[in-house]
Amino acid sequence: MTPVTTMVNGLERTVDVPPATSLLTLLRDELDLTGSKNACEEGECGSCTVWLDGELVCACLVAAVQADGRSVRTIEDLGDGERLHPVQEAFLEAGAVQCGFCTPGLVVAVADLLDRDPHPSDETIREALAGNLCRCTGYSKILAAVHLAEEAVA
């Protein structure tokens, strides 16, 4: 077992993990942060998308030990109790949520995109969200949600 100390959503957390445990397993199984979903565990679906030192990553493809001494921000840090993040509001309003499983990863990816590019073109949005699969919506409502959020964030 290896001790891993990570700043998760602003709080320092220390956990002992076996050698090749993923950051996703650390978040979900050790810290009970189950907002980041475990679906494919091979980076295909993006439902475990989090920020590692401010960069968008699939938590399933980061070894937990690689997060030692770094900061992780998850979907749980976006809302504030009852108050939703503008991207979350926009997803609800646009009907971009159906089964909801992909939603945390998509919300994180959209928040990241709007942070870097407050007014992205549809083409930019499609490229930025290419790593997040949604099997329900057909994506057009998600695009609509991004444009809605863009107004709210601006």
Binding site: G43, L56, L61, V62, V65, Q66, E127, G131
Partner: protein
């Protein structure tokens, strides 16, 4: 390994020599897939993601040196002087993957479908590897030996990759079922070398390793009007070039595509790539 992860190359090489059982990991985007699936159970990892000196690139008298730890996101942002490499980098996985995946990992994983590999082959790159015993420089085709097989010794790490600057346009193209998250069914990189008057063509996903297409290259070098960028290449010549490129492929049938489809893909992509490069050259000279 319970000791802290290395932050310098020297420390990384010491750790590699001392703990050959520890699996090197940089971005982890390839390694973690079999680990998560339980197909690979490393006793320890050697985390290379903190070795800052591996995550840099620079121009070195007429050559480009890209450190093994340079991510594809960074390559796409910063190496605009090499359009084929940027085009290949942008096809790697997804934004999340590109933020982690490194060019050194692409080399060490040595998948026949590694997206950057046809570019490095077309550029005629050398792979730099090192251990506590010293550093070695291997031409790309002496480093990549087979599917997931490289010339890397047990105590060595990939340090970086280098290629000489070349004048002329080029491109990378990849065929798959969508633009993102796709393992290439076939890919092609073509680099025109207007100084040496050569065409450099490499093919991905159509042989046990990336391959060059020397007959197609020589045929095109003879056919191009090097002194007259405005003169178009006859359509038949471009088609013959495509056919020669396809002849250099040794593909297999697999879940992603048939051998016949791969040959045809190479034929079409290589022809297009040559015509694109000549059009770019014409435009640049106009």
């Amino acid at each position: 390994m319970s000791e802290p992860a290395p932050t310098t190359l020297a420390e990384a090489l010491e750790a590699r020599a001392a703990h050959p059982e520890a699996m090197p990991v940089a971005g982890g985007t390839d390694l973690m897939v079999p680990v998560n699936a339980g197909r690979l159970r490393p006793d320890a990892l050697l985390d290379l993601s903190r070795v800052a000196e591996l995550a840099t690139w620079e121009l070195r008298n007429g050559s480009v040196h890209v450190g093994a730890g340079t991510t594809f996101a960074r390559i796409a942002r910063e190496l605009g002087a090499f359009p084929p490499l940027v085009q290949a980098a942008r096809t790697v996985g997804s934004p999340q993957i590109r933020n982690r995946a490194t060019i050194g990992g692409n080399l060490a994983t040595a998948s026949p479908a590694g997206d950057s590999l046809p570019v490095l082959a077309a550029f005629g790159a050398d792979v730099l590897v090192a251990s506590t015993r010293g550093e070695r420089r291997l031409p790309w085709n002496e480093f990549l030996l087979g599917p997931k097989r490289t010339a890397l010794a047990e105590d060595e790490l990939v340090v970086g990759v280098e290629w000489p600057l070349r004048d002329g346009p080029g491109s990378f193209a990849k065929i798959g079922t969508r633009n993102a998250m796709v393992i290439a069914i076939a890919s092609v990189c073509l680099q025109l070398d207007t100084r040496e008057r050569r065409v450099r063509l490499a093919l991905g996903s159509v042989a046990p390793t990336v391959v060059r297409a020397p007959e197609a290259e020589a045929f095109a070098a003879d056919a191009i009007a090097w002194d007259d960028p405005a003169r178009p290449l006859p359509e038949q010549t471009a088609r013959e070039f495509g056919a020669l490129a396809a002849a250099a492929a040794h593909p297999i049938d697999d879940v992603r595509g048939s051998a016949a489809y791969r040959r045809r893909t190479v034929e079409v992509l290589a022809r297009r790539a040559l015509l694109w490069a000549l059009a770019d050259r014409r435009e640049a000279s106009a």
